[in-house]
Amino acid sequence: MATIKELSTREDRLSGGHRLCAGCGASIAVRQVMLGAGMTPIVAGCATGCLEVSTTIYPYSSWKTPFIHNAFENSAATVSGVESAFKGLQRAGKIPADKKMKFVAFGGDGGTYDIGLQSLSGAMERGHDMVYVCYDNGAYMNTGIQRSSATPLGAWATTAEVGKVGQGKPMRRKDLTSIIAAHNVPYVAQGSISEWKDLTQKAEKAFAVEGPAFLNVFAPCPRGWRIPYNKTVEIASLATKTAFWPLFEVEDGEWKMTTKRVTRENRLPIEEFLKPQGRFAHLFKPGNEALLASVQAEVDRNFDYVLKRCGL
């Protein structure tokens, strides 16, 4: 695995000057993941969303690598087509047989957990040599903070409002990482932008395998989470310390926690993660004690599940 010194010499393939918000977790996720590809040429694809609209405003592009945006729900299918073209053209002798390339598709949680799930599932099943990266900020941020199936239980969103009756999203999150692990692809991992070493190592593994790999990357959205723009990394770190976002990988079917620091015993209470975020403010109002307890119970249930899968 590369040291931070080595990583610092690698080309940053997403240029600065893009128009994402200050403190956006998405661009941090993209840069950390692409560092993991080393010097291998990459074609990157991206679903419609904040990342796409902010990095490709015609005639500019922040991508210092070949890039394609197609639509919202089909980043995986689109990049699977690019990868297939590489194979077909190599077979035709139009691309040298020894040329190596890597293919990566990005999508937000809306474009991945929800509208793009079928496209992603198909691409994973077909065994394309590609990495799919979901930057999970838990809502449709580009259209204005609407709830997705990645939005946490109890979180406020503009389509899961807080009012006299409603108290944010009443449903729990979809466990996408497990769903992709169930495709039995060679490499699946959950990482966070707050754990750069863990994430770049996971990205290195994802790019290194022959066949499909999936990374689910925790990437806070200051605007949507109602947090100051300089708290992105701090909040992401609290997500791992409270076990809201366990860091693990599934390598050829073997589940493994990639940090031993967070255990059932020492994980922080979920309030530590929730309290600094405006989207959870209503959970701390009188009358919502049971809801807050159910959020903790849901985090514990999920963490127990991951620990069990990891044999812990």
Partner: protein, 395 residues
Amino acid sequence: MPTQKTLAVTGNTMVAEAMRQCAPDVMAAYPITPQTTIVEEFAKYVANGRVHTEYVTVESEHSAMSACVGASAAGARVMTATSSQGLALMWEELHIASGMRLPIVMANANRALSAPINIHCDHSDIMGARDAGWIILFAEDAQEAYDNTIISVRIAEHPDVMLPVMSTLDGFITTHSIDRAQIMDDETVKAFVGEYKPENALLDTDNPVSHGNFAGLGGPYFEFKKAQRNAIDRSAAVITAVADEWSKICGRPFGNVEGWGMEDAELAIVAIGSTAGNARHVARELRAQGVRVGVLKVRVFRPFPFADIADALVGCKAVAVLDRAESFGAEGGPLFLEVRSALYDRDERPAMVNYIYGLGGSDVKLELMRQVYSDLSDLADGAQVPGRLVYLGTR
């Protein structure tokens, strides 16, 4: 020296053979009746190593066209095939493929759209895609399906065009009926279509480009659309040139519109696809009785050959336009609207009537064609039209 073999063969087999001969680098497709035998036959070519194609067996038509977009932007020659609900599911991607100026070639087995569900021929699917920015060709029979597929590759990839092309054939009637057709030798087709030399390919990593950028916020979206309009307008001359070149090799004529008896016809039927044959059969009978009838078949629907159609119809007394698709709430079916519009600027305009026929595979019997000519005869004699839009042959 071009050599051709005569086969007893279905339209779908001819399309699959044409695709094999054009040697796509990528084929991404999803099965749907009555397109299935195209993708099945292609799978055999793949399994037998007869093509170098990377065959992507996607999980939906939406992903089929999405993967085609990715592969074409990557720099590959790309083909696919679909029908009906599949084409409808692709709708979003059809516009993206043409907007990104990707020369994808797709066969469509023309079939009705749900509801109610129906698997048989009509043109509801393809007419629903008529404004998607694709060049659209219609085949009357297996032979035309073959020839159209081959010329589609050259048209799509022409530097003056760079647009996707749909080469369509009528579901079951043409896709599945055994027909007589000639297949060209592989080498001649290979030489005719040539090698695709893409510009701005994603796989050219030494020259990185971004595809599918955001052109909002006062960006040049409008200008891109104008460029697309200019490209499809330019494609008319390219279609003629490419089709002429292929005609000289294979010996079969190609016209944007193809007339039978139109030189002196007083009564004419305008039709698309397999129905043109039924109309011609009845026209021959009537000609034998001395009635001056004709048939005008439209082979290129986009770009629509306005001038060719107006020139062909301008001397007629009465014209029937046969639409195998509805445009609910409009003045008539899609073909009728275009044909009427084509004649607007002419001083001499024939009486015109629109027939909606054959929806969901409803049988196009010869007596229906006789009825249309009989109506036209009355119309030419000054009778009132039964209505500008007539449902032909409903029970």
